[in-house]
Amino acid sequence: MRTAVVVFPGSNCDRDMAVALEQATGRPPTMVWHKDTVLPEGLDLVAIPGGFSFGDYLRCGAIAAHSPIMRPVRSFAERGGLVLGVCNGWQVLIEAGLLPGALMRNAGLKFVCRDVHLACETTATPFTGALREGQVIRIPVAHHDGCFVADDALLDRLEGEGRIAFRYTGPDGHDGPRSNPNGSMRAIAGALSENRRVLGMMPHPERMADPALGGRDRVSDGRLVFESLTAALQES
């Protein structure tokens, strides 16, 4: 499986993403600079990592969405390539028009960094095949602008088409007062493109892909996302 990670000047989860991808695929990803105008040949997956691509000035991801590398990323996605955007990566994909909706300032207005619980809403994607439907996983969020916003028509459509990959939930799969960390509409934590091959999500699977980081219970739920990807690509 050949992967690439896009690096903007203010990306700061590029290395974390690369480590997780290498761990899952056995092969280090190619790091692609934002000023590049082509992607490497024969790629299976492009990851847009978290961070503050251009300081997150103006709007998160807005300046990055216009950088030269996003042209080939867009055509890669249009050809059915797999694209994973995490945190700032999702913001970039939305600003680039590859995913719908908007990500706005957290409802609590503060930056929020803590573990959240996610319910897997669909396993029919290359990103979630290794999970069970309804499975609750624990991984961290760390963002200031992760409140997913869309009009009712879009929300209904996303739900109707099974394009919500993850929702925030409580540890037991039931909503609690702290389960939705940012006020996202319908607790959406991750959404898919129409062809289900582009996923954007606020939580960071790459930060919880190693049991050494999973605290007392040695949780490494983030790995499931990467294992899903390798499995999906082996099948195809």
Partner: protein
């Protein structure tokens, strides 16, 4: 020549910052504030000296980058 692009949230789009401002004003004892919305302005210094052309250029910049038209409206003013 200067152009000012004012970007505001579309009506109906949730504005937690505006809501927080309204709440904070109330808790500071300011009465009669029934709502607040926050937006931003971007002031551009342009080499262009023709007002109409400056306005058109600023509008193109807003279309391309400065506003996200999924959730925001903008207006342009040449100063």
């Amino acid at each position: 020549m200067k152009a000012r692009v004012t970007v505001t949230l579309k009506p109906g789009v949730l504005d937690p910052q505006g809501a927080a401002i309204a709440a904070a004003l109330a808790s500071l004892g300011f009465e009669g504030v029934t709502g607040a919305r926050q937006g931003k302005i971007i002031e551009l210094d342009l080499e262009e000296t023709d007002p109409a052309r400056a306005e058109a250029a600023a509008a193109r910049m807003a279309d391309t980058l400065l506003a996200n038209q999924v959730i925001e409206n903008y207006s342009v003013e040449v100063l």
